[in-house]
């Protein structure tokens, strides 16, 4: 086991994948010689050559569209969109092409590919470097959407995503790249070296897609979270003194329905937390899933704590960000319900 940041873990995953399989290629804006603006691909070009790790033109539809063609040829492209906020020009290629090639060709063609992108706020990125578009992916049949919350998972999930025979959207919470973040932005930053999940093997391993992880077992309320909000929820539960069961979804599609349902049936209460905007956010789907499956086990209305339905404001980042105070208030509220 080696101490790793999430950046090092993601790089290590691509390194392992490229070493094991000549068909894995990596490209995107600034990912070649420079190694990516967040340095996730640093050293890969030097090690594997320019034909396997290279810079792409500033064209997200081009990056994803070319990856679809490469995957149809038989490669396993793992491409980077520099920020999730930049994925929209490639959205057509993701949702109507990559997602549907297997289906529309009845399996004649397939497109195993990974689209990596840093997601979420917390770094003063303003409205075009802070978005969390996961619901836009989860709404689409034919792709999988993964959001890791720690270096160990990030590496294992990315290796599983690269090996997966379907297209996978891999959203990396950029606020977690260098350490777990509990939402207390005014406190000193915690590095991954002090966290148990900041350790991962250098060698190949996988973490299966579609499986949630219970980060904290609890009896009172189920908290459904992913990405950065895992740590916010943990801090909030501790500070509010609520015995919460915190479920890190890790893959939001396909969703680990069994783990979610078992937990809510056990606790009878549910709080959903995400950083993305509220209306039609992924929390709405989680709420529906829980209502459909666990309605008669519920002892209180389900509550969502999310970003507000506004663009991500620059100066007011910490007012927008659903921090431990707001999550804690929701936990208390759901416990007070009769």
């Amino acid at each position: 086991m080696t101490r790793m940041t999430m950046i090092q873990a993601i790089r290590s995953a691509m390194d392992n994948a490229m070493e094991r399989d000549d068909d894995v290629v990596v490209f995107g804006e600034d990912v070649g010689f420079f190694g990516g603006v967040f340095r996730c691909t640093q050293g890969l070009q030097e090690k594997y050559g320019r034909h396997r790790c290279f810079d792409a033109p500033i064209s997200e539809s081009g990056i994803v569209g070319a990856a679809v063609g490469m995957a149809a040829f038989g490669l396993r492209p793992c491409v980077e969109i520099q920020f999730a906020d930049y994925m929209y020009p490639g959205y057509d290629q993701i949702t109507q092409e990559a997602a549907r090639i297997r289906y529309r060709s009845n399996g004649d063609f397939t497109t195993p590919m990974v689209v990596r992108m840093p997601t979420g706020g917390g770094i003063f990125g303003g409205q075009t470097h802070s978005q969390s578009p996961e619901a836009l992916f989860a709404h689409v049949s034919g792709i999988k959407t993964v959001i890791p919350s720690n270096p160990y998972d990030a590496k294992g999930l990315l290796l599983a995503a690269i090996e997966d025979d379907d297209p996978v959207m891999f959203l990396e919470p950029k606020r977690l790249y260098n350490g777990p973040f509990d939402g207390h932005h005014d406190r000193p930053v915690t590095p991954w070296s002090k966290h148990e999940l900041g350790e991962a093997p250098d060698d190949y391993y996988t973490v299966p897609l579609g499986r949630a992880a219970v980060r904290r077992e609890g009896a009172d309320v189920t908290v459904l979270v992913y990405g950065t909000m895992v740590y916010v929820a943990q801090a909030a539960a501790e500070e509010a003194g609520v015995d919460a069961e915190i479920i890190d979804l890790r893959t939001i599609l396909p969703l680990d329905l069994e783990t979610i349902e078992a937990s809510v049936k056990k606790t009878g209460r549910c709080v959903i937390v995400h950083e993305a905007t509220k209306t039609c956010g992924f929390g709405a789907e989680l709420m529906a899933v829980v209502s459909e499956a666990c309605f008669y086990h519920l002892e209180a209305p389900i509550i969502r704590v999310t970003g507000y339905d506004t663009p991500y404001p620059h100066a007011h980042e910490w007012d927008y960000f659903p921090g431990p105070k707001r999550v804690g208030a929701a936990l208390k509220k759901v416990m007070e319900a009769a």
């Binding site: 070319a66 063609g69 057509d92 060709s105 004649d108």
Partner: protein, 410 residues
Amino acid sequence: MSDSKPLSLYVPEPEFRPGDTPNFSDVAIPKAGAARRPPVDVEAGDIRDLAYTIIRVMNREGEAVGPWADLLSDEEVKAGLEDMMRVRAFDARMLMAQRQGKTSFYMQALGEEAIACAFSKALRPGDMNFPTYRQQGLLLSSDYPMVDMMNQIYSNAADPLQGRQLPIMYSSKEHGFFTISGNLATQFIQGVGWAMASAIKGDDKIATAWIGEGSTAENDFHSALVFASTYRAPVVLNIVNNQWAISTFQGIARGKAATFASRGLGFGIPSLRVDGNDYLAVYAVAKWAAERARAGHGPTLIEHVTYRMGGHSTSDDPSAYRAKEEATCWPLGDPIDRLKGYLIKRGVWSDAQHHQMQEMLEMQVAEAQKQAEKNGTLHDGPHSSPATMFDDVYKEMPLHLRRQRQESGL
């Protein structure tokens, strides 16, 4: 206000609308044989003229002339004529089947048969086409079974795509035909990506990508040219300029400023404009571009100048927006008549042989239709089991889909 005049927006209009008598005498048609044939390793900047002219081989007397001529034997040309006639007979039959209510939708390639039929002869097994919906000629000139195409059109029990796709959105990896999207231009960049993959793996296969002139306005056209030129991808990028994008004339995608082929020049991609109704010219240019790609010289952009003689699809009525006689006045003529004239002039073909081939092809198509209808039609069935709609969304069916299938009772 200053002394300048108020601005006004220029909105291009086609010259002729319903009721007008079309007159194409001002459309410049260069003489056959006049365009030069450069070496395949030429730089784009050295052949700028070829992006503005029209490369033509067959002259009005039916002779093949100039440096792009004499690449095919008489037997190969006869086979090409048969391919085009097969496409036309197939289209006529399937158009009728749609009118008879046997399927929902059809798109013919009427007047554009030469492009796909000739192009396919420049490719090798293993190469991959990323076609649009009007390149059925790629399949019909390369031994793909007509019955399978019809099964797909009917979405019947033997449909290779299990009834998932709109009619004519074929897919056949084995025959080098990438699954048709139905969305426009998306496949143009995918073809470039496929070609890049071939180069990454040190393979010798090339890709072709296809787009209509109207869809060159899409961002994926631009993405494709950027990627193709940046990485010198072994790809042939084809623009089929059939003058009409449903009801929108080609001027809306470019104004009168340039040709579609000339769009490639800014990317440093050698760009050629060819008479798309001249089977011999299309073949010659396709072969040149394929050779370029295979030799590692990178992409070529080809604008095939043609005319969409029929409606955009069975859901379209062109008499509502364009002059009725346009198709017959079109100065590049009918590709089948022209190739027939060439073969007759060569003394190796006759009206009687032509008529005989026509009858034989109609019989083959009718026979294939009979076979296909044994497997069902869209409206009368049978179809694949409805439960198959849940298959192949993912390789393994996830729990939520398993539950939905179960709840559906299918």
